[in-house]
């Protein structure tokens, strides 16, 4: 078992396309790190470089203390779960799991014992003599996991291993993958495009965009201290509300579309750098779950709004609203606000979402005041995208 370290790793494909830029990462032994980002941001490329399936264009990769640049995949002692599993179709489940051990000339009795044990852990015992084509997607996924864990490798690499499963199976396997990893204590780099998966599974999460690391932190910190607009918008569901705004020349008022909001001294104490933004543009962020209806008080951040759509989820109610402000769109992040319902009968153009207590009853077209605690308000520089602290 070992750690994974990447130092300033670059990947430029033969086409000249830079898929990964100066990528640094350390996955400690036994740690579960998730690499998350939109499709095409370079996640698979990074895994393949660690596995040795793709050469690095620059930088160094270490597994444990050993630099592995230029070492063949078979000599790196990594196990990889491929997105499409890549099971050997001509081998049985047992054959698939045993393959790596056979190559290592492990004794027959030891192999069958290990295969039996892994089959038990993964609930594959009664399928050991079947071929992959006879299995369901979930079972194939388990075989792919089995093939990885039976080897007791130095590190695990997993490329969106759950993305081909349906939602309920995926939720179940999330827990199971974690359980297995915790048990084996093998350093794991897990790739996904699903931020929920990333947040629920990772000890730490690396957010990647266009081959550039945006932030690497614990799920908690990613959520509460995003370093830039991309991370703020990418993490959390529904995504953080982001509004374009400007600060008055004297710094007292935040002009957010049709409304003016007082910027209190308290906000400036929380965000000292914000003082440099007098008569400049900023982006204001507030998470849907931090908005409440009413509580129109001076010590809260309040937005007057019109309700355009109500989604009753049972546990919460999602309220899409207009604040007469312009929403900031972030490239590469899906946006849940139902802006395309702008032509509803009340002509409300929705720019934001509030996640409210289901007991609150609101009607479409109703004018309400939404408010949030001051410390749940974020400011970002619209040009650099960086958070303003």
């Amino acid at each position: 078992m070992a750690s994974i370290t990447l130092e300033k790793v670059n990947k430029i494909y033969a086409s000249g396309f830079e898929a990964v830029h100066e990528f640094d990462l350390h996955v400690a032994d036994g740690e579960f790190v998730v690499l998350v980002g939109p499709s095409g941001c370079g996640k698979t490329t990074i895994l393949r470089m660690i596995a040795g399936l793709e050469e690095v264009s620059g930088g160094s990769i270490y597994i444990g203390d050993r630099i592995v640049n230029g070492i063949a995949p078979k000599d790196r002692d990594v196990a990889m779960v491929f997105q499409n599993y890549a099971l050997y179709p001509h081998m049985t489940v047992a054959g698939n799991i045993a393959f790596a051990l056979k190559l290592r000339k492990v004794s027959k009795s030891e192999i069958s014992e290990k295969v039996r044990k892994v089959g038990e852990i993964l609930g594959l015992s009664q399928y050991l003599n079947q071929r992959p084509r006879q299995l369901s997607g979930g079972q194939r996924q388990r075989v792919a996991m089995g093939r990885a864990i039976v080897r007791e490798p130095a590190v695990f690499l997993m490329d969106e291993p759950l993305s081909n499963l349906d939602a309920s199976l995926r939720a179940q396997m999330r827990v199971e993958v974690l359980r297995i990893q915790r048990h084996l204590q093998v350093g794991t780099l897990y790739v996904t495009h699903d931020q929920v998966e990333a947040m629920t599974m990772g000890d730490r999460v690396v957010v990647l965009k266009d081959g550039h690391v945006q932030q690497c932190d614990t799920p908690k910190n990613l959520y509460s201290h995003p370093t830039n607009l991309f991370v703020a918008a990418f993490v959390g569901s529904p995504a953080m509300n982001l509004f374009k705004a400007g600060i008055s020349s004297n710094g007292d008022v935040l002009d957010m579309g049709s409304q003016s909001i007082r910027l209190t001294e308290e906000l400036y104490i929380m965000h000292p750098t914000l003082r440099q933004y007098a008569s400049k543009s900023v982006v204001v962020g507030v998470r849907p779950e931090h908005l409440l209806i009413g509580e129109d008080r001076a010590d809260r951040f309040t937005i007057s709004s019109v309700i355009g759509l109500v989604e009753v989820l049972g546990s919460d109610t999602l309220v899409h609203f207009s604040a007469g402000a312009e929403r900031m769109y972030i490239e590469g992040v899906a946006n849940e606000a139902a802006t395309d319902l702008a032509d509803n009968e009340f002509n409300v153009k929705n720019e934001g979402i509030a996640r409210l207590d289901p007991k609150v009853s609101v009607r479409i077209g109703e004018k309400v005041t939404l408010s949030a605690e001051l410390d749940s308000i974020y400011f970002f520089d619209p040009i650099t995208g960086n958070v303003i602290n």
Partner: protein, 323 residues
Amino acid sequence: MLGKSEYSLPPSIKKRNSRRGDLPKKVVGSYWKADLVGLMPTMALYVFLVLLPIVIAGLLSLYSWNGVGSLRFSGFANWDAFFHDPIAAHSLEVTIVLALVSWAIQTPISMALGFFIAGKQRYRTVYAALYLLPLLLSTVGIGLVWQALLDPNFGGLAWLAQNAGLSFLQQNWLGSNSLALWTIIVLIAWQFIPFHTLLYQMGRRQVPNVLYEAASIDGATKWKQFVHITLPQLRYTIVVSSTLMLVGSLTYFDMIYVLTDGGPGDTTRVLSLDMYQAAFVANTFGYASVLAVVLGVIGVVVALLLVRFTGFSSLSSQREGIA
């Protein structure tokens, strides 16, 4: 140690997984009928193209016939003659050696070339066209060209031997007892390797690359990848190619006829040549039919054995289940 997983699959998935073995007998029966109906066209072709000629030859083998006059029933006289004919026994031996050696030479070379070309992205179609050229030329034409090249006095190889110092090329390639059969085998290989190269190239290109990646991560060397991924994945290609090679060389006739006509002596006298001579030189069609039956039966048996041994008959996909 982790507890055993308690989780059970939803019924919809279980159902999808059930195989024919789980179905009630009645349903299995109707599957069989469906299979038979589906086999009809193939069976019809097989009867007309394979069985019928063998049966006709079989009947003819019971008669004495010079090809012009009337048939005269002669019982097993032709067969009796065959079993006591040292020339036929020798021809059979030459035929089998030719077939086996051809297979053993052509298969690895075709595979190696096919895999090599499969890797090249550029010019693949150009290669394909070039490789098919020998198949487009008439065998008789090829035979004449080779005859010219191999002539010990005026041939191209002899010229090289004299002018380029490659004296080992100075051989009586087609006229020497010890060389003629091997020369023929090499020329047949030259003629057919391109086609089999294409077969292997297509087969290899069908194998998903990710299998090799998975295997290399699992610790497989290139050789182990070949043994554990390529060979099993190419099972059907190997069966098809080997069947064509073996059956093709069992019945191979034209180039041998042109180049050596079985000589020198009868060192290259294959069964098909024997058959030709029995029919059209000696005008003993009954006896020729015996040889035809023997060749036909050997061909069918070889094909069936290949299919049997390699499990081709199980009709299962080689790719399904990767993902």
